[in-house]
Symmetry: D2
Subunit: 278 residues, 4 copies
C-alpha cells in the first residue's frame, strides 16, 4: 500500500506538510502507522499547481526519506493545491513512470490500494483505455489504468459518476476472470480547483482516508492545527500528528468533494455493476 496527501487552500510551502509534522509523509515513507505494509520506499512523487494550468510533477524512484532534491523543492515551492505520494509497490516495477501522481492536462491523480488479480485483468482493462489516451499510458501500474478509465468515464464532467462507472468496469473485468481478491481504492483526483477523493473496497477493507479543514493550516512543534473558518482542506491517508483534534475519518464507501471552503461526503453506491453484467 501507499500513503498520500492532498492539500487545497492558502498557498503553503510543501515542506510544512511533507517534513515538519510528527507523522509527516516523509516519516510515513519510513514507517507509517495505519497500513498493512509499514515501509513506503518504492518511489514517491509530488504534483503542484503554480501559475499555469498544467501542474508541475517531480517523481523519483528513491525512498522519499533520502532525497535531497525533494527536500529542496519542498522548501522552495509554495502552492495553493498540491499532491504528495509515497509508494509501496504491489508488484509493478519501481520506475518514475509508475510513481504517483499521474498527470493528464490540468488533472492529477494518485491512489492507494490495488486491483485484486491485476495480472488476470490487466490486458482487458488496458483495452478499455480510450484510444485517444492510449499513448499516455507510459507506466505499467493498475493505478495509471484507473486514472485513464476515470477519464474515459467522464471524470472531467462528473467525477462521482466516473468513479462509479470505473469501479463497475473493474469489478466486471475481475468477475469475468474469476478473480476472488478484492478491489481496494482510496484515491484522489483534481482539476487544479477541486479535490475528488474516494474510499471504496469490494470487501469492506478499504485503506483509511481522513480529512481536516479550516481557514488556514499551521504546523508547529510537529503538530497540525487548522484555524477556525473555511478555505483550506487536507485530504490524506492518515493523520499527520498524534493529536485527534482536527482529523475526520471518511467512512468506507464514501466519495468526498472539497471545493475550497466546503467538504461534502456522499455514498458511492456503485450502480449494481455486477448484476447488470450477468
Amino acid at each position: 500500500m501507499c500513503r498520500w496527501l492532498a492539500y487545497s487552500g492558502s498557498p503553503l510551502r510543501l515542506h510544512a506538510l511533507l517534513f515538519e509534522t510528527q507523522n509527516s509523509l516523509i516519516n510515513q515513507s519510513l514507517a507509517c502507522q495505519r497500513a498493512s505494509v509499514a515501509t513506503n520506499g518504492d518511489g514517491f512523487g509530488v504534483g503542484w499547481y503554480g501559475t499555469q494550468k498544467k501542474p508541475g510533477l517531480y517523481r523519483d524512484i528513491r525512498p522519499a526519506w533520502n532525497d535531497d532534491n525533494l527536500r529542496s523543492l519542498a522548501e522552495q515551492i509554495e502552492s495553493p493545491l498540491f499532491f504528495a505520494h509515497v509508494r509501496a509497490s504491489t508488484g509493478t516495477a519501481t520506475t518514475r513512470q509508475n510513481c504517483h501522481p499521474f498527470r493528464h492536462d490540468n488533472w492529477l491523480f494518485m491512489h492507494n490500494g490495488r486491483i485484486g488479480g491485476y495480472d488476470k485483468v490487466r490486458r482487458c482493462l488496458e483495452f478499455q483505455i480510450p484510444e485517444a489516451l492510449y499513448n499516455e499510458r507510459i507506466g505499467t501500474t493498475d493505478s495509471e489504468i484507473i486514472f485513464m478509465l476515470l477519464i474515459g468515464n467522464g471524470l472531467l464532467s462528473d467525477p462521482a459518476d466516473a468513479y462509479r462507472k470505473t469501479i463497475a468496469d473493474i469489478e466486471t473485468a475481475m468477475q469475468a476472470q474469476g478473480v476472488t481478491e478484492p478491489l481496494r481504492l482510496t484515491a484522489c483526483a483534481t482539476d487544479g480547483e477541486r479535490l475528488y477523493a474516494i474510499r471504496y473496497s469490494s470487501d469492506q477493507a478499504a485503506p483509511t482516508l481522513f480529512y481536516a479543514q479550516g481557514q488556514q493550516v499551521q504546523v508547529e512543534n510537529g503538530t497540525c492545527a487548522f484555524t477556525e473558518g473555511a478555505g483550506s482542506v487536507l485530504v490524506l491517508s492518515e493523520p499527520l500528528d498524534r493529536s485527534d483534534a482536527c482529523w475526520n475519518e471518511v467512512p468506507e464507501g464514501y466519495f468526498l468533494t472539497a471545493i475550497g471552503d466546503r467538504v461534502t461526503l456522499q455514498p458511492v453506491v456503485p450502480a449494481e455493476p455486477i448484476s447488470a453484467v450477468a
Copy 2:
C-alpha cells in the same frame, strides 16, 4: 538508434569486447561511428549465459560509459554467449524495463531501429501480443513488443519465419494506420545456443549489421582478431576497431543464423504481407 553486439564461442570475459577495443561498445555509447545519432546514453544492458538455462540480466538507466558496476561485472563474468546493448531512445522513457536485452525464459532479444509511427500502431500491436505473454510486457518500447510478437509468431521453433510474420504484422498495422515512416529492424535473438539476427527495413535504410568469425577472438592493443578456424562468432552494429581485416557487413534484407562454427545468410523476403491482408 542504438548499438549492440552478440557473442557466441569460447568463454570470454565481457570486458574484452565491451571495454578494450578502439571502438568498443562503451566508446560507442559516447560517440558511435555509423549511426544517425552519435550518443547512446539512454541506458544499457547486458545478458549472459552461465551455468543455468536462464540467462543473467543487468540493465541500468545511466550511460554505459560511467557505470562502475558494469565495469566490475564485465571484469568478472566469463560467458560462452552474451549480448550487450547501449541505448539511444527513440521516444520512450529511460527505465530499466525499456533497456535491452529483453528476456523470456531462456531467450534474449535486443534491437536497433524503430517502428515508424509507433504512437499510431502501439495499441494495435500490443493487442496482438499473445495473452499468455501479456504480463511479461513490463516496459513500453516498440522493441519489447517486437520480441513478444516474434515469440507469438513461432520464434522458438522457426526464427526466420517468425521474423517474416512479425514484419508482416507490423507493416500491416502501419499500413492500416496510414503510417508513412519506415520500419527499421536490426535485431538479434538467441536461445542460449544460436544467434538469430536480422537487418531489414521497409525503406532500404536499415541500421548497419556486421559479423566476424574464427576459432577464437583476441583483443590486443585495441584491435580485434579472430584466429583461423571456427567456433566463435561476433554479430554487431558496427566494427569494434578501425581495421577492416575481420568484419563482414550483412546486406540489407538478410537474416543471419550463427550456430557456433557456421554463419548462414538468407534473404528475408517477407511473404507479401500487405497484399495478403488487403
Copy 3:
C-alpha cells in the same frame, strides 16, 4: 569539460533558456559546440532563487536531455536569478553530490575546467578547506574544493580577491607536487544578487565564457534576443543560438561582475603567487 549558464534579471521561466533555443543547454548536454568533449551526460543541476535567501537546488545523475523532472521544474519555476549546469566528468564519480551548482548558505557556485594533476594535490587542497566548512564537503570533485577555498579566501566580502588567492593556493599546491598539467577555471558564483564569473587558465587555454545583456531576454524560434536597455544579464559557456547579435566573449584572464544592469570586466592578474612561494 562542462557547460553552464547563469541568468540574472526579470523573473524568467528556466524553460526558456534551458530548452527553447537552438543551442540550448539541454542540446549542449547531448552535443555542445565549443568544447573538447561534446557530450555532457554525467549529471546536471539547477539552482534558483525564490522567495527565500536560500536558493533551491535540483541535481541528478542522469543526462539532462532525458530527465522529465528537469523539464517539469523548468516549466514551473520562474526566477530572477538561476544557475544551470550540465556535467562531463573529468574523472570523479557521477553522484548528485558531485553535480553543480554547489550551495553554501545563500551562495551558489558552478565550474567548468579542472585542476591539473588533481590526484596529486587533492589531499593538500582538502586540508586547506576551512575547518568550519569541512563537513559541507559532501562530494569529491575539484570544483567543490575550489568553492570552499573561495569561501575561505573571502568570497563573501571580496570575490575578485578571493578568486586571485584561490588560484594562487591551487597553483602553489600544483607546483609543490610538480604538476605540469594546467589549471583551467571558467566559473561563476553568486550571492543571489550579483554574478561573479571568471575565465582563467595557467596555459592560455581556458574554457570559453560569454555574456549578453539588455532590458529583457526574449526567446523566439530558437533565438535569444535582448531588448534595448539594462536589467538582465546572461553569463554562459557558449552562445545559445547561431546568431552573433548579442553574444560577447570574455577574454582569457578576466573576471566579470554583473550587478543587475551593469557588467564589468577586470583582469585577474594573480598576485604573482608562484614566485611568492619559491
Copy 4:
C-alpha cells in the same frame, strides 16, 4: 544501522543466502529483527570472488528489496567467498560510493555501526588516511575511513592488531574533540581467503554479530542448515531464520577469524588507547 553477511566455503549461489531464507538479507532490508532501525533501504552492495584475485563489486542506491539486477546477479553468481550488505545511513548521502562493501586490491570491507560525533572527527581522521591511499577515498562515510585506517594500521599483515590500533586512533580523535557519543563497530574484512570480523563498542552496546559453520550450508523451506563437518562459515549481523540450531552469537568485545574450517574468537582488548593519550 545496517545489516550484512559474509560467506566462505563451498561455492554457493548468492541467491540462497540473500533471498531464500525466512529472515534473508533482502527481508532484513525491509524489516530486520535485531536493530534499532528496522529499515535498511539506503542502498546495498555485494562483493564476491571469482576466478581473479580482484573481487567483483555491485552496489546501488535503491533499496535491495526492489532491485531486479541484484536478483539476477544473485541467481547467476556462484562464489566461494562473498559479502553482502544492506545500508541504513547514519547521516551521509545515499551514493554508490557510500555503499558497502569497500574494495582495496584483493580486499573487501563492510561495517555496521558508527563513529560517534563523526562530524567532529571526520577531518582529523581523514588526515590520518595514509597518503598513498588518499585517492581511494571516493565516498564520505565513516566506514570507508575505518577501512583505510585499518589498511594503514597493518590490516594486510596483522588484522587483529590493525583493528586494535584503528579503534585506538578513532577513540583518541573522539576524545580530543570531546565526543561523548560511543564508537560502535561490527565489521568484517577479507583478503579473499579469510574472514576477519569484529564486534566492538565503547559503550557495551555493539551491534549484534553471529556465526555458523559446517561442511556445507543448505537452504530449504526458508531455513538454513549446516551439514556436519568443516569447510563453510557464515558470519553475519543476525540469524537468517527463526531456528536456533546453528547460530552462535559473538560476544561484545571479540575479534573473529574464520579460516575455511576453523573459527577462532579472541578478545579485542584495545591497548589502553585512552590513558596512553591523556
